[in-house]
Amino acid sequence: MLKVSDLSVTYGNTLPALRGVSLEVPAGGSVALLGSNGAGKTTLLRAVSNTLRRHRGKAVSGSITFDGEELLRLDTAAIVGRNVVQVPEGRRIFGRLTVEENLRVGGMRSGGREAARARDHVYELFPRLKERRTQRGQLLSGGEQQMLAIGRALMAGPRLLMLDEPSLGLAPKIVSQVAEVVRAINAAGTAILIIEQNANMALGVADYAYVLERGQVSLDGDSARLKQTDEIKHLYLGHSSDEGGAPAPSLVGKSLGPWKEGR
């Protein structure tokens, strides 16, 4: 379904943010992409949705196909038209629009009746949003905003739903609710590509996972198997090093310098 092959991306004239990345999301599958801050996770989603240009980035080589069609040549709206939809990092809900208007924006490409059906479905999935439908987005709590961001993307009828760090800044209880919702969406037939630093959450949702380090895929495999590897335990599951023996090689010289999103 989604196939990223040998993708390299650079911003301006800096070092490449992605180098030869290849990954696949099968139809109806659920795949996680793990990586620490600055690894290039968001960059990958920008490439898939073709928003790199906004950030002065460029895919310099490789390809991204969806059902065999090259996405790098389509514009963002057309990619959404192929039912490849993204829930962006930081939720990015429209704070001055009401909950209902936020959902309307998501359903704008589909016809009135179809959009109404999608909205009913979203309200079923998130009764809380229905209760608050006339309120402005900015008044919602972080968890509710994440639900709205997911609901809004569902309005576009995704066949592939990509979520960029949906657990960011949420309380553990809410994180597990989000995970549950994502599993339910996947069970209903939508393919999932979930991006996370929270490996626990992502590996609980996805069948398969890739680990991205400094722009390259360093590891991939079934979630169940990946959970057992030392590297994952060390980097993302918060185990101390004496538990897993020798420190994982990727920890050595690893730079975790945070990169702040500036616009």
């Binding site: 949705s49 928003t51 906004r54 963002t76 709206a77 959404v80 038209g81 939809v85 993204q86 962006p88 990015r92 429209f94 704070g95 001055r96 629009l97 208007e101 936020n102 309307r104 924006v105 998501g106 704008m108 490409r109 809004r152 993307a153 309005m155 576009a156």
Partner: protein, 293 residues
Amino acid sequence: MSETLITGLSLGAVYALVALGFVVVFKASEVLNFAHGSFVIAGAYVTARTHELLGFYGAVLAGIAAAAVLALVVERLLVRPIRDAPVISLAIMTIGVEVILNTELIRRIGVDIMPLGQPWGADAVSILGSNVPVNRIVAVIVAVIVIGAFLLVFRFSPWGVAMRAAAEDRETAELLGLNLGRISMVAWLIAGILAGVAAIFLTGAPTPGLAPTLAAVVLRAFPAALIGGLDSVPGALVGGLIVGMTEAYAVAFQSELEFLGRGIGEVMPFLVMIIVLVIRPQGLFGRKETARV
């Protein structure tokens, strides 16, 4: 003094129409369109040229259509190709367009005053003992209807919702499949229509018709937009009213204000703008972020 009040309301309503177009274009496409004034003049010119042939109402439609088409052409041919240019370059480009269009239109108007053929002409009615041109009253009524229709579209139509979403966060709007180009196009179209409507009243009584001085009159819609806040629709309406009222009262008290010099009515809107901006750089209803554009 009810005459001054009605003059102010009427001028204000018409300035609001013009400022509204400027603000909508800015919200939808992040372009400060200083060519907006020439859309008004182009609309007035076409109405004046065609009213004998088409009759007044036909000519009004022709004028509105001309202003709308001109707005679309400027957007497609000049703004769109360089939309990634810095905001300031785009703004200065539109100033260039304004200068070129106005020079040509004013050359065509010549030294004459061109009537637009408003059927109410210079008729006046007596309200509370003062004589008020019918043009002023029609202006208020039409402006209120047009603004009301605009607000309904802005609030409830798919375009209105999409436009407000895009104004807030363009990247996210695009990630949900919105076509920003189309949203912007509709905004320019609406701005052109509003300009064409305003043109009818800015050239009506007590003004004898379309004259080159219209350029200076239209210029006062810019302080209206800035006073209200560049990105605020309610701001454009309030700003328009403030400018209209200021102008009307400055003219009414002209003799008392003589010590400030002649032409005080033309200067006051800009003075008010400067005062508002010093106190509130983002305008009365504007948001802080856009003040730094």
